[in-house]
């Protein structure tokens, strides 16, 4: 099996190389065959030769496309073989020996594919060729542009498949005797979400290669117009949704497995996934300016490139061992490969940007600061500023080591100092942006649109300050006591501003539809959303984002306590009292476990029992905690089995009371639903052509760019 897997990988590399070279040659010949009239083309025999050349290059381009398609089949075969080997406990393959064992449950054996360095690179290649497979099948949308994008994708495929064949081979054979059992999977990865978190994250990371391929293709061919953006819009949104899902699944996994009571620790690997998400989100916004007004073409080109580049940089961070992290793969030599690939992609992009940047001239200028365009621009600047802060903080330990000789790490306070104010400003823009008109907004328009949402936000702020503290959680907020309370109050009030702004958009739009169709308000709002799914789906994404922000704002009210608890011992935290009923040990084929049974009372009333667990995995000889979490809208009660007092055998229990955490997970679901809605094609709306009356008066004149 291993031999066939190795062969499939080699075949995939050969096909990718062919796809790249044949595609490149075909594009060069096609370009020369369509050059403007030259002396040679005036001769009949030369015209015949040009036609022959063109036909030949078209057939060559088709073989390139087909080779790209076939490369997906080869990588898929290699992946299937690796999974089969994991299920057959084939420990003759080093990768299976290091990442699996006989008693590993079935779903985790499937997850072995992305649990280690080599397998995850194979999985990355599978997704990359998979995306490219879909792109190459859909080439009829715009055959020329797709041919360029296909060549760019083949170039990226060559890099990953070269890594697999020459630096991180997943089918490497064990030296000496074949071991009876494997080392097992890392215990932290033996959690249901870990079966889906990496694929989601990778789908996001890898997916950004597609918009990049189209962007670079459009830049190389000086593609006139914004059609490449229309083509990639859905790719970008799907990819963004996967990355969002991956990031929050990771946060949920950290919350549910790592046992420290938090969901985000500004770890370098977490940051690695956040950076492309930030630039990708900026791109999703700024791209509208290019579509609607033909503006920010250069900026968008750089954002697409930065997003792709940061995704690769994130992979470099996780795999090179250059920066230490709880999530990183083992230190290896493949970091050098990634470093060179990063330099190469930057070089290629810079070369074509310098060569063809004149094809990216804006068609309009910014007319007013009070306009939708400027809100997008500020939104983009804030996202990029946040991305740069995260990049700087992530690399600072390495930079300080190079400059000073000792590693200086930066923690959450560094990131929070920038991230919180930036997030608050972004919230303001999220509320303001949709209410501003394109081009410019008058003072009267501002007053008309902002009055009620602002009153609502102020009313909520006053309510939160005025309520008694005994209500708990975010009620009775006293912003003058601590800066974190001030930030929480601002975050919640501004979130209300966004929610009211979004609601007013739905209400006003629904009222127009209702007036024209006679439908009820709800039906009209549904129809409104269906007529412009991207816009109203986007508003739902905004609504989800502010629900997430409200959840994050709850962190200011978190509490925790730790206590050794024998039979009948009690511990209090917030309105909860915890009573230790029992503690015991258990054994399964894969691990030993210790657990405590804690009875929970809220305001003196019994509400159930909780069982935090600590496991010791036999194969890997590692321990892991499984916290027990009781979630409500208001707060999470989070219990961790920290350890055992060796003298008396009593468990040490740590209790966290985390405010509003459930809002984060709910918000993510809303964001994903909004993205799903934005992907639905628009319902047809009546078409008007009001400009025809002026046609006769207009003078023919050059319009913007385009060859």
């Amino acid at each position: 099996m291993a031999e066939l897997g190795s062969f499939a990988l080699l075949l995939a590399l050969a096909l990718s190389v062919y796809s790249f070279l044949a595609g490149l040659v075909a594009l060069i010949y096609q370009k020369s065959a369509t050059q403007p009239a030259s002396a040679a083309r005036t001769l009949p025999e030369s015209a015949g030769f040009a036609s022959l050349l063109r036909r030949g290059s078209e057939r060559l381009a088709e073989t390139s496309r087909r080779a790209g398609i076939a490369s997906f089949g080869a990588v898929l075969l290699a992946s299937i073989i690796l999974v089969i080997c994991a299920f057959h406990d084939d420990f003759s393959i080093a990768y299976i020996f290091h990442h699996s064992n006989r008693d590993l449950p079935g779903p985790y054996k499937f997850a072995v594919l992305w649990s280690g360095q080599e397998g995850s690179l194979l999985f990355w290649s599978l997704l990359l060729t998979g995306y490219a497979f879909v792109l190459r099948l859909r080439y009829k949308t715009d055959a020329r542009l797709f041919a360029y994008a296909s060549v760019v994708l083949a170039g990226v495929q060559i890099f990953f498949l070269s890594l697999l064949n020459f630096a991180a081979h997943p089918f490497a054979i064990m030296q000496g005797n074949i071991p009876a059992d494997g080392n097992g999977l890392n215990p932290l990865l033996q959690y249901p979400e870990m079966v889906i978190h990496p694929p989601m994250l990778y789908l996001g990371y890898v997916g950004f290669t597609v918009p990049f391929a189209f962007a670079l293709g459009a830049l190389i061919m000086k593609y006139p117009g914004e059609k490449w953006i229309h083509i990639t819009r859905r790719w970008t949104m799907v990819t963004w949704a996967f990355l969002t899902c991956g990031i929050f699944l990771g946060a949920h996994w950290a919350y549910s497995v790592l046992g420290w009571g938090g969901y985000w620790g500004w770890d370098p690997v977490e940051n690695a996934s956040l950076m492309p998400w930030l630039t990708g989100t900026a791109f999703l916004h700024s791209v509208m300016m290019q579509e609607k007004r033909g503006m920010l073409k250069v900026w968008n080109m750089w954002l697409v490139f930065a997003t792709f580049w940061l995704a690769i940089l994130g992979t470099f961070l996780t795999r090179s061992g250059i920066i230490s992290s709880v999530h990183a793969f083992a230190q290896s030599s493949i970091g050098d490969w990634f470093a060179w690939f990063l330099v190469l992609t930057l070089g290629v992009f810079l070369f074509f940007f310098i060569k063809n940047h004149k094809s990216l001239e804006s068609e309009h200028k910014l007319e007013s600061l009070a306009s939708r365009e400027s809100s997008f621009l500020f939104n983009n600047l804030l996202f990029v500023l946040l991305c740069f802060t995260v990049l700087w903080g992530t690399w600072f330990p390495k930079i300080s080591e190079l400059v000073q000789g000792n590693k200086v790490t930066v923690g959450a306070p560094f990131y929070n100092r920038v991230a919180i104010p930036v997030a608050l400003l972004l919230l303001i823009l999220t509320a303001v942006g949709p209410l501003l008109a394109w081009r410019k907004t008058s003072l009267e328009s501002l007053k008309r649109n902002f009055f009620w949402p602002t009153i609502g936000a102020i009313a909520v702020a006053i309510f939160l300050i005025a309520t008694p503290e005994s209500w708990g959680s975010v009620f009775g907020l006293r912003p003058w006591r601590d800066i974190s309370y001030f930030y929480s109050l601002m975050a919640i009030s501004l979130s209300v501003l966004v929610i009211l702004a979004v609601a007013s958009e739905f209400y006003r739009g629904g009222r127009v539809i209702s007036r024209h169709t006679g439908q009820g308000m709800f039906g009209s709002m549904v129809q409104l959303t269906h007529r412009n799914t991207r816009r109203y789906g986007g508003y739902i994404v905004h609504f989800g984002a502010v629900v997430v922000i409200i959840g994050l704002a709850g962190a200011a009210f978190n509490q925790d306590r730790e206590k050794e608890m024998g039979y009948g011992d009690k511990m209090s935290i917030g309105p909860y009292t915890l009573l230790c009923r029992s503690y015991t040990e258990d054994e399964s084929p894969n691990y030993f476990s210790q657990w405590a049974m804690i009875e929970v009372f809220k305001n003196g009333k019994a509400i159930g029992s909780m069982t935090p667990v600590r496991r010791f995995y036999k194969a890997s000889q590692q321990t892991s905690t499984i916290p027990d979490i009781r979630s409500t809208l208001n707060e999470d009660l989070y219990l961790v089995f920290e350890g055992v007092n060796q003298d008396n055998g009593h468990p040490i229990i740590k209790a966290h009371l985390n405010a509003l955490v459930m809002w984060i997970w709910m918000g993510v679901w809303i964001m994903l639903i909004g993205t799903g809605l934005a992907l639905v094609p628009n319902a047809q709306a009546p078409v008007r052509a009001p400009a025809t009356a002026r046609l006769e008066r207009a003078q023919p004149a050059p319009v913007a760019t385009g060859d």
């Binding site: 099996m1 031999e3 066939l4 062969f7 075949l11 096909l15 062919y18 078209e58 057939r59 088709e62 073989t63 087909r66 080779a67 076939a70 080869a74 080439y139 009829k140 715009d142 055959a143 020329r144 593609y223 006139p224 117009g225 914004e226 059609k227 579509e291 609607k292 033909g294 209410l435 008109a437 394109w438 081009r439 410019k440 907004t441 008058s442 009267e444 328009s445 008309r448 006003r508 739009g509 127009v512 007036r515 709306a685 078409v687 008007r688 052509a689 009001p690 400009a691 025809t692 002026r694 046609l695 008066r697 207009a698 003078q699 023919p700 004149a701 050059p702 319009v703 913007a704 385009g706």
Partner: protein
């Protein structure tokens, strides 16, 4: 040695798929300035529709609406004029 046979079959099938191309190829239309202008025209019409909708929704005061509508209509008219000129062919006038 079974794997060698499978590998050989796989290679043969792949080569056949890649290089055997019967029939006509799909090349799609060439992107011209006129097709680009039609895309721009669609974008401006969409902007006009959005503007009209926002006006009806009460988001834009009348004076702002008239000014922005006029500007967008001028933009659309300029594009339509160039499309008409390109469709008539070089050197011809209305």
């Amino acid at each position: 040695m079974t794997w060698l046979l499978v590998a050989a079959l796989l290679t043969a099938a792949t080569l056949f798929y890649v290089f055997y191309i019967p029939g006509q190829l799909f090349l799609g239309p060439e992107k011209t300035r006129a097709s680009y202008l039609r895309e721009r025209k669609d974008a401006v019409y969409e902007n006009l529709r959005d503007l009209n909708f926002e006006y009806q929704a009460g988001k834009i005061p009348d004076a702002d609406y008239q000014q922005m509508k006029s500007s967008l209509q001028d933009e659309a008219a300029t594009i339509l004029a160039e499309i008409a000129r390109l469709e008539r062919g070089p050197g011809k006038t209305a």
